[in-house]
Amino acid sequence: MAISSTVSADGAQVTIYIQGRFDFSSHQEFRNAYEKLNKTPSRFRVDLQGTSYLDSSALGMLLLLRDHAGGERADIEIVNCSQDVKKILLISNFEQLFSIQ
């Protein structure tokens, strides 16, 4: 499974983990990780520790998550990026939209 997720005990935070390549092939799984929750969390974490590569469709998916989470008001952290992944995120100016750790 390329995508997995955990929800904090109080349901306020969901963490989504992405393994391997992050691209359109995990699109459905990625959406399921945040759409099919009983309670809409107030905080999101996308953990890219296991993510080796990503492409622009993955960036599109991150933006889908952001709009789902409230757009400008969204509280989304992208954590544990490798240098490679971070480079792509920064090239796309994603640090203006997400908190990138």
Partner: protein, 569 residues
């Protein structure tokens, strides 16, 4: 210790009457009595019965009380056996003799029962204290022993992590001493895929375990990244980030990192807080210092970290020295520090270059004399050798180093039957990262290939419009349609051409992707700014930022992207 318990008490007196009186008094107090008529007997009984307290007459036949006391104290060793002399002597000299012989107290004849009882009690209390102390001392010794054993094992783990790499290469010498089993200094060295050697010498604030703990993530980050071909600034940034995150405030790592390019005879140096390293030039014996221009690692937050480096040209035979402040701060008996001047004097002596390393160590040791070494003392020397002369037991690829340019190209085509099942990206990436130069760029290369290929396939061959991706539903719809179209496709192609070219300076990778689609009006998108919030349309923008050039040809169904790198980055 219960001081009312029954004790074993040895009574030695040659006068029967006196002995009898003593025995009676002692026994009445509930103690067990052993009797001796002279010193010899007393020693024999002591050996056999191990009494707790000895009452010894000073003057006895065979062996007097003084000799007996000495022997008994000797036999008792660590254990404390109070000896109370029984004596009718009153002169100071005799009493002093009793104490000199090992006696702990004396009791004058005739015996006073109350005083004797009190003395036995008091000495028994002392025995108790002593025994407690001995037990605790043994426990402490045991704990210490175990701690040392644990540290020894931990040090092996530490050394395996921290001092692996290519420190055993033929052109490297290093010296690490430490105050404790652990060392606050760390030396790591590894070969980059392009044949450069990267060396980092770090000095953590503090000593021992707290300092050594930070060395573990430093070393594993260093080795993990250098072998993959990451640039010096990437490695430094990552280490700085890690240390900043894990070290408490006040603990940080002064470090010098050097990228040795043996082919171009060039050094790239970053020094954050360590004393200046030295380039010792073989030709004229001159010295070039490499001074600190940065803050130590683990101090600045990621965004403020500075990675600009100094470059130095060197020649074969030149020797590069790096050290921690242990050498500069080594103190002699008068408390003076060794300092940089004395260090420069060693170079100025003009000894054979090959001996300089030993000369420095010797003169520091000489200087310290019998003074105490109060910092970790570390030094490393790297000799500039011709690349082909370097011997690295674990690094075969150094021999593969090309001094001459390398060029190759390949082309292949994805046909309709394979669009659905075959993903050319992992395959292409595998081929490309076989080139050591490219290994450090695998992330960027993947993204470039992925964008070019998916554009060719989706917008070209399948003629899907990115405009679909304007809403979350559209985004999903786009990939549903992609799937559907792929399962039905019967004609079309994606043609991929890759040309690799590298030389001593760097290289370039040209990627040409052509598809069977009708193309698009590429003039319309020139200079388009990378939008930040749309779900799609940023792919080519990213490729443009990663590549030196991106050009469209024909009707827009052909694209050429050139990715370029410089070896010294």
């Amino acid at each position: 210790m219960n001081d009312s318990r029954s004790l074993k008490i040895l009574v030695a007196d040659d006068t029967d009457a006196d002995r009898l009186i003593l025995e009676t008094i002692v026994r009445k107090e509930g103690h067990q009595v052993f009797s001796a008529k002279n010193g010899l007997e007393a020693v024999a009984i002591f050996q056999q019965e191990h009494p707790d307290i000895v009452l010894l007459d000073a003057l006895m036949p065979e062996m007097d009380g003084f000799d007996a006391a000495r022997q008994i104290k000797h036999l008792a060793g660590d254990e404390i056996v109070p000896i109370i002399f029984l004596t009718s002597l009153q002169d100071t000299e005799s009493l002093v003799r009793c104490l000199d012989a090992g006696g702990d107290d004396f009791l004058s004849k005739p015996y006073n029962r109350v005083i004797l009882k009190a003395k036995i009690k008091s000495f028994n209390r002392m025995r108790g204290l002593h025994n407690t102390m001995i037990t605790q001392r043994d426990q402490l010794a045991q704990h210490h022993q175990r701690l040392l054993q644990e540290q020894t094992v931990a040090k092996q783990v530490f050394d395996n992590v921290a001092h692996s790499g290519c420190l055993n290469a033929s052109n490297v010498r290093y010296f690490l001493s430490s105050l404790a089993v652990f060392n606050g200094d760390v030396v790591v060295a590894a070969i980059r895929p392009n044949g450069n050697m990267m060396v980092l010498l770090g000095d953590f604030t503090g000593h021992g375990l707290p300092a050594a703990i930070g060395a573990m993530p430093l070393a594993s980050t260093f080795y993990g990244m250098v072998h993959k071909g990451f640039s010096m600034s990437d490695v430094l940034r990552e280490i700085n980030k890690k240390l900043k995150a894990i070290l408490p405030i006040g603990l940080f790592c002064c470090a010098t990192m050097i990228d040795f390019n043996f082919r171009r005879k060039r050094l790239k140096v970053w020094n954050g807080g360590l004393p200046a390293g030295m380039i010792y030039r073989q030709a004229d014996g001159s010295i070039t210092p490499m001074r600190s221009t940065h803050l130590p690692l683990g101090v600045l937050p990621e965004k403020n970290f500075k990675d600009d480096a100094q470059f130095y040209d060197v020649e074969e035979g030149d020797r590069i020295f790096m050290w921690s402040d242990g050498i500069h701060e080594a103190r002699n008996l008068d408390g003076d520090m060794f300092g940089e001047e004395r260090l420069l004097e060693v170079f100025a002596k003009g000894s054979e270059p090959v001996n300089v390393f030993d000369d420095i160590l010797a003169s520091v040791k000489n200087f310290i004399g019998s003074g105490e070494q109060d910092d970790d003392l570390s030094m490393i020397e790297i000799r500039m050798d011709a690349p082909e002369n370097l011997v690295h037991p674990n690094h075969y690829f150094i021999h593969r180093q090309q001094l001459s340019p390398v060029e190759w190209e390949m082309r292949f085509e994805v046909k309709p039957t394979s669009f659905k099942s075959f993903d050319p990206l992992p395959f292409l990436l595998n081929v490309l990262t076989e080139e050591p130069d490219l290994r450090g760029f695998s992330g960027s290369l993947y993204t470039i290939l992925a964008e070019l290929y998916s554009n060719a396939l989706e917008h070209g061959v399948l003629n899907l419009s990115g405009n679909l991706k304007k809403s979350p539903e559209g985004f999903a719809e786009y990939y549903t349609q992609r799937e559907k179209l792929l399962s039905k496709i019967t004609d079309g192609f994606v043609h991929i051409y890759v040309a690799y070219s590298s030389n001593i300076e760097g290289g370039s990778l040209t990627l040409r992707v052509e598809d069977s689609g009708s193309g698009f009006d590429y003039n319309a998108r020139q200079g388009k700014i990378l939008s930040t919030t749309g779900y799609s349309g940023r792919g080519i923008g990213i490729v443009e930022k990663l590549c030196k050039t991106v050009r469209y040809y024909g009707s827009g169904n052909k694209v050429e992207a050139v990715f370029a790198w410089i070896n010294d980055d």
